[in-house]
């Protein structure tokens, strides 16, 4: 009996010591900041960079990134999007041109009451104008109304997102509080395919920099109106305290609007 009591007390002591150890480790984990060191540079088509995550002086993850021109995902995606837009516009233009040619010819046909004529365009396309309907025009194609131009379905109600927006901003602000920038340097030169879009985008970026209070940091965003390009470098040395991130998450879950948004996302 005595032996059982002794064994149980040893087990209890061990368990409580283990719990205390886990608790202390958790406190350490929450209080001692993680250290994130980032460095990226994009010059021409090549992207070079490295990142390092460390805690208490121990390196948890470290890697170097180098992408060749063939792997340059951002540029290729941007180019693909631009090509697709141009192709779509070209198709639309051709269709409209074809429709215009057909209308003009129809009118001429009514006047002259001649039999079938063939309209030949410079690109070698031939269209018979014997009253047949031109296919693939944007107005006639029912797939265009729903398929190509329709936005993808969202996993939540946009109204819920709008309701939750102030709460999301509060959470983001709390999350930003958990980060402390020891070093921040960003020098970006970018350009989009339209100078107007470039100017608007640079306005957004300057507004974000100002809203985040980073206007005193070494941040240089310069637009290039010469065409699509992205060049620059980004260096950051960030310390993140998990306690504030956890606090932000707890606060987020206390917000009714965010809980509703999360429920909708999970259900979908």
């Amino acid at each position: 009996m005595l032996a059982w009591v002794e064994v149980s007390s040893i087990i209890l002591t061990t368990l409580s010591a283990l719990a205390a150890l886990i608790f202390v480790l958790l406190i350490f984990f929450l209080i001692i900041p993680f250290h994130l060191d980032l460095e990226f540079k994009k010059q021409g088509p090549t992207v070079r960079g490295r990142y390092e995550v460390s805690w208490l002086g121990f390196i948890l993850k470290k890697d170097a990134i180098e992408s060749s021109p063939a792997q340059d995902a951002i540029t290729s995606i941007l180019r693909e999007t631009q090509d697709e837009a141009k192709r779509a516009q070209g198709d639309e233009y051709d269709c409209k041109d074809e429709a215009q040619a057909k209308t003009a010819q129809d009118a001429e046909e009514h006047e002259n009451a001649e039999p079938e004529k063939i309209v030949e365009k410079t690109d070698g396309q031939k269209t018979k104008d014997a009253g047949q309907k031109i296919k693939d025009t944007p107005e006639d194609d029912p797939g265009n109304k729903t398929g190509k131009n329709s936005a993808p379905a969202l996993p939540f109600n946009p109204r819920t997102l709008l309701d939750a927006f102030p709460a999301i901003v509060r959470v983001c602000r709390d999350l930003v509080k958990s980060l402390s920038f020891q070093k921040l340097s960003c020098c970006i030169c970018f350009g989009l395919d339209d100078p107007v879009d470039t100017a608007v985008m640079s306005g957004y970026l300057w507004a974000i920099v100002s809203a985040l209070g980073l206007f005193r940091a070494n941040i240089l965003i310069s637009p290039s109106f010469a065409g699509m390009m992205l060049e620059g470098d980004f260096v950051a040395d960030v310390r993140a305290r998990m306690i504030w991130a956890l606090w932000a998450l707890i606060n987020a879950l206390r917000e009714r609007e965010i809980r509703k948004l999360l429920r909708e996302v999970v259900r979908s």
Partner: protein, 98 residues
């Protein structure tokens, strides 16, 4: 005494992305100005439209932003990159009736 330097204004003339309106395609020529500090920091930018090239099936013409007609040569002088657009439009819209 520290010398005060005025920010510099850099100006470029560019062609904005084409806009389709019915069977017309409109190319806007814009003047982009950037206000740059001596250290290279950008303090602001603004865009002023100057003229428009309108491409319709069968004809192309230019309009100044005030609405007055302007010769095609003038807009091509302003934005030489539009020459390819005009040439392409002239080629595309040639209709042969056989």
């Amino acid at each position: 005494m520290q010398e005060i330097k005025l920010p510099a204004i850099e100006t470029e003339i560019r062609v904005a992305k084409e806009m389709a309106a019915g069977n017309k395609i409109i190319y806007t020529v814009v003047k982009v100005s950037i206000l740059k500090s001596d250290e290279g920091y950008i303090m602001g930018s603004w865009i002023t439209p100057l003229a428009m090239l309108i491409v319709e099936p069968g004809r192309q013409y230019a309009l100044s932003i005030t609405g007055e007609k302007m010769p095609l040569e003038m807009i091509l002088e302003l934005a030489p990159s539009l020459k390819s657009v005009v040439d392409k439009a002239r080629g595309i819209h040639r209709i042969k009736v056989t």
